[in-house]
Symmetry: C2
Subunit: 265 residues, 2 copies
DNA sequence: GAAATAGTGTCTATAAGACAGTATAAA
DNA sequence: TTTATACTGTCTTATAGACACTATTTC
């Protein structure tokens, strides 16, 4: 179909069409990105929230994010916002698109479509200097969803819930748990990531067997000197392997039929 | 955090803020939806494409879709477009958000952000009448991605590939294969869905054992009279069960380590 | 040696792959 | 009775859950 000749003719016509085109013919909207940025702090799954300084939702807590500039795509906007927010030149973790939220009244100002992202990063000491993040802090996820938790702006409570569910699912079939750690890590570190994100206790021996028998999940670096002041047998260190998906997947315990809540219409 | 008193004061201030707000302060964009609509025709995974009547990409093939109206969210826009396109009052299948495509130059006219959807539907006879779909036709997926396949508009080749990969993944851990059939269906019908979407042959006996042993996947209706002109033993009919996810998942054969291509940055 | 932490071995249950067989219909 | 289609049984292998055990360090 669509011969080359037809396309060539079309290209000339198309240039003319584009010269005459008026962008104001279409219903406009603003595009923002919002990031569910997750880490493990003190053994708890934690999320970065920013207290809103201005209207709307002044004083409520919101996901880090902001408007997408005309010359960037949403991936780049999300990376840029995270660099601003964490004060780091490059974001030291994993970042992926979550989904898009487009209810016409989700922002009282105007039509604002939010392309949400979810990010995983290690628990780095906050750099603070030079960052946008005067009003930002980490919240334990359990505290955010608790009865007496913070008021969340816009539809960010929904986005947070969806982001955490995505994180839980991703740990099942990808090696991305390692994105929550700094390398080198121990298998105990890795297990604590699973336990914090899934909110369960995992069996030590079975977890080790599973991780080590899944090819490309981790690479052993050997036993190096443990941190000062630790007791007990020093743990072997690992780094990420080259797998992008886990085969077979890690199984999340307690997932017995009812679970998940996908984005049907 | 954020006492009720503070929120009340804020609400008055906020109303004032919104009265003074000028939406033109933000970089505008148009929002469209594009749908990767899949079905099984003659045993082949097939996708609905529309030949573009106007510029840009005049004569090329594109995903069905279009602009999101000011008073609707993208879910509703996608459903509406499918109803227009198929000529059916309500879309007879499964529809879910895929991901959002936002490269600044993906549309030569202006900044257009596409929220893509993926849909599964049975192979219904085309109603034609009253539909937008004069220029629409089903393409076998293999033919679309072939060397001599149709020219696809915008970044729709990428969206098609992502949509098909989503469909393949969804059949693994959900009972959505049934969305490709009309009820009642036979287990042979269901197996042919898997074979068409995954592009593999499945072992008959093992497939049956797996489907029937996964609780909530299908419900048996009994053996009803087979269609005219069929030979051989009549097959038992089933309808969907009440499960939303499969436990354990259906395993896609040949997924041995390398596969998947997720949306990292 | 006691305490603390890391790591191994093994039995059992479940589920998947392979493959050979039986059942029920039309011509 | 042949042919076509639907369905069942069973042996083997891979993986996960449960749980008891051994190893290496500090104090």
């Amino acid at each position: 179909m669509t011969t080359d000749a037809a396309r060539t003719t079309g290209d000339e016509e198309e240039a003319e069409f584009l010269r005459a085109y008026d962008p104001r013919d279409f219903p406009p909207a603003a595009i923002v990105v919002d990031v569910v940025l997750l880490t493990i702090r003190a053994g708890r799954l934690s999320i970065l929230l920013v207290e809103r300084a201005g209207h709307p939702f002044k004083g409520a807590w919101a996901l880090p994010g902001g408007f997408v500039e005309p010359d960037e795509d949403t991936d780049r906007a999300a990376s840029r916002k995270l660099a601003d927010e964490t004060g780091l030149a490059t974001f030291p973790g994993h970042l992926e698109q979550l989904r898009t939220y487009s209810s016409p009244d989700r922002d009282p100002r105007m039509r604002v479509v939010s392309v949400a992202y979810v990010g995983f990063m290690p628990d780095l000491p906050a750099p603070a200097a030079g960052s946008d993040a005067a009003s930002a802090r980490w919240w334990a996820f359990d505290d955010v969803v608790a009865e007496d938790g913070p008021a969340l702006a816009f539809d960010h409570a929904t986005i947070v819930a969806d982001g955490v569910e995505r994180a839980r699912a991703k740990l099942e079939y990808t090696p991305l748990a390692a994105s929550f750690t700094t390398e080198p890590f121990t298998l105990v570190d890795l297990r604590r990531v699973y336990e914090a994100v899934w909110g369960v206790e995992l069996h030590v021996g079975n977890f080790r067997r599973k991780v080590l028998s899944t090819s490309g999940f981790v690479e052993r670096l050997g036993v190096t000197s443990p941190p000062e002041g630790t007791r007990g047998r020093p743990a072997a260190r690992y780094r990420r392997g080259d797998a992008t998906i886990l085969h077979p997947a890690m199984l999340r315990p307690g997932t017995l039929g009812a679970d998940d809540a996908d984005d049907d219409l």
